[in-house]
Symmetry: C2
Subunit: 280 residues, 2 copies
């Protein structure tokens, strides 16, 4: 139960799943169907845009967590999206929830799809941002894009998220700066960084997802809101259209002059659309 | 000729070498034997610590430049240290110099050694920092260390130079922050970043240097001042001792609780020692 209104001040808590402590933060409404946030490659609790968390938490109970082996959570990251989905399900059940909404971003959106396939009764609605279906175009290139953009960041004295999450237009550059500043707003009780070993294991899982056969997403009957920027280079934007086509009960929003971090760049619009979608 | 006193305000100039414009900045004394700065992997003009440039320029004419294919310079970077040395020699001669001092840092220190071997009469004295001899221990691991530290930077919301150039002690972390801030002091007329292609070619050249047979540095009769931090992970510190042993007319300074960027961390001490060495 939480009545904390701002992500910045939400304490990091731990929920044991079996023997393993899983790190999470809870904010927003004290009751109702919670919205579980599922995070991206390399990300820990502090990688969520506080505007998006606070925005959704204005109307919903929100839980952000580090899956097994990530950030301050114990255990080791598994090397498949399916195993990550099983870990997330175990965490959700350990918190006592029987029905949740999922907000999955990038890798988290892949994990969300598998959760809905494995445990359809657990999921009420899903928001999938900057993500794609198994076998989606260009997903097998995530490692390459990530390393090149890290290099680019290093050589230009910039955080690689400028390149990985945003366009390089004047507008994109300005918005990326604001996003990176927002990620540093929290100064106390910041999360532990993900280990390089866990990061590499995540890359392996994403690569396998990128080259595997697409699964039949028509079995996912829940309402799904898919969103992305129009110039996502990490999980290329055609994947978002592909998802919308494969998911029978979906709607789509594509943000202009925006990359992988489109929902962070357009956080006002995205939060309003997500709240409307969840309230319906 | 220059009477500009601060690196921050030194304009970027161009010297044609054959058909190729080479970018450089000149500050300090208007005459005397110039000190040519040779730069590190991935570096452009803006990667020099302004305190070190200004410190040496207080007593000497200083030239910093982008070798062929780097930053704003034209042409393509060659893939061997020897070819980089020939490019540097051509640039020095194009400026009309017949005798220079060299300050070579990391990759630039490798290039400096070859310049002294190829054109002994051109070099009066050398300062070699954070560098090693051909075949030096661990130099073949530079790519791996660089990529791991870039990843580490990305995952900890920090510039990878924190890890590549400094120790992770409380003192090292504080000094790295100051260094990175100094590199951003210049806001106008900043250099063009190095291309990823050029960076990869430099890595190839450094790797070849790391696995090649050591050359006979006893032929280098000039006075050489070798310096480094005591915990250099990029070009491991034993290389500095190795250099001092191989160079018949050398002296050595190792800075405590310091990494690859030891001369930047200890810029006051280093500048004083370098000036004393050059004045002798």
């Amino acid at each position: 139960m939480s009545t904390i209104k701002r992500f910045e001040t939400a304490p990091t808590q731990f929920q044991k799943v079996g023997d393993i402590p899983i790190a999470y933060r809870e904010i927003g409404a004290a009751s109702g169907v919670p919205v579980i946030f599922l995070n991206h490659l390399g990300a820990v609790l502090d990688n969520w845009d506080p505007r998006v968390v606070d925005g959704i938490a204005a109307k919903h109970r929100v839980i952000v967590f580090d899956n097994r082996g990530i950030g301050a959570s114990g255990g080791l990251t598994p090397d498949t999206i399916t195993a990550m989905a099983r870990d997330a399900i175990a965490f959700i059940r350990a918190l006592g929830f029987t029905q949740v909404d999922l907000l999955g971003f990038s890798l988290g959106g892949m994990v969300s799809q598998v959760i809905a396939e494995l445990e359809p009764q657990l999921v009420r609605k899903m928001i999938l941002a900057g993500t794609g279906p198994a076998g989606g175009v260009g997903i097998d290139k995530v490692t390459q894009v990530t390393i090149v953009d890290m290099l680019k960041g290093y050589l230009t004295f910039k955080d690689p998220k400028h390149y990985l999450f945003f366009t390089t237009t004047a507008n994109g550059r300005q918005e990326s700066g604001k996003f990176i500043t927002r990620l540093k707003e929290r100064t106390k009780d910041r999360d532990k960084p993900i280990s390089i070993r866990a990061f590499r294991t995540q890359l392996k899982a994403i690569h396998a997802w990128g080259v595997q056969q697409p699964s039949d997403l028509s079995t996912i009957q829940q309402p799904v809101f898919v969103a992305n920027g129009d110039h996502d280079r990490m999980v290329p934007t055609p994947n978002t259209f592909d998802l919308a086509k494969r998911l029978p009960n979906s709607e789509i929003k594509i943000y202009p002059d925006a990359g992988h971090g489109g929902i962070f760049q357009f956080h006002n619009e995205f939060v309003a659309q997500a709240l409307e979608f969840l309230a319906r």
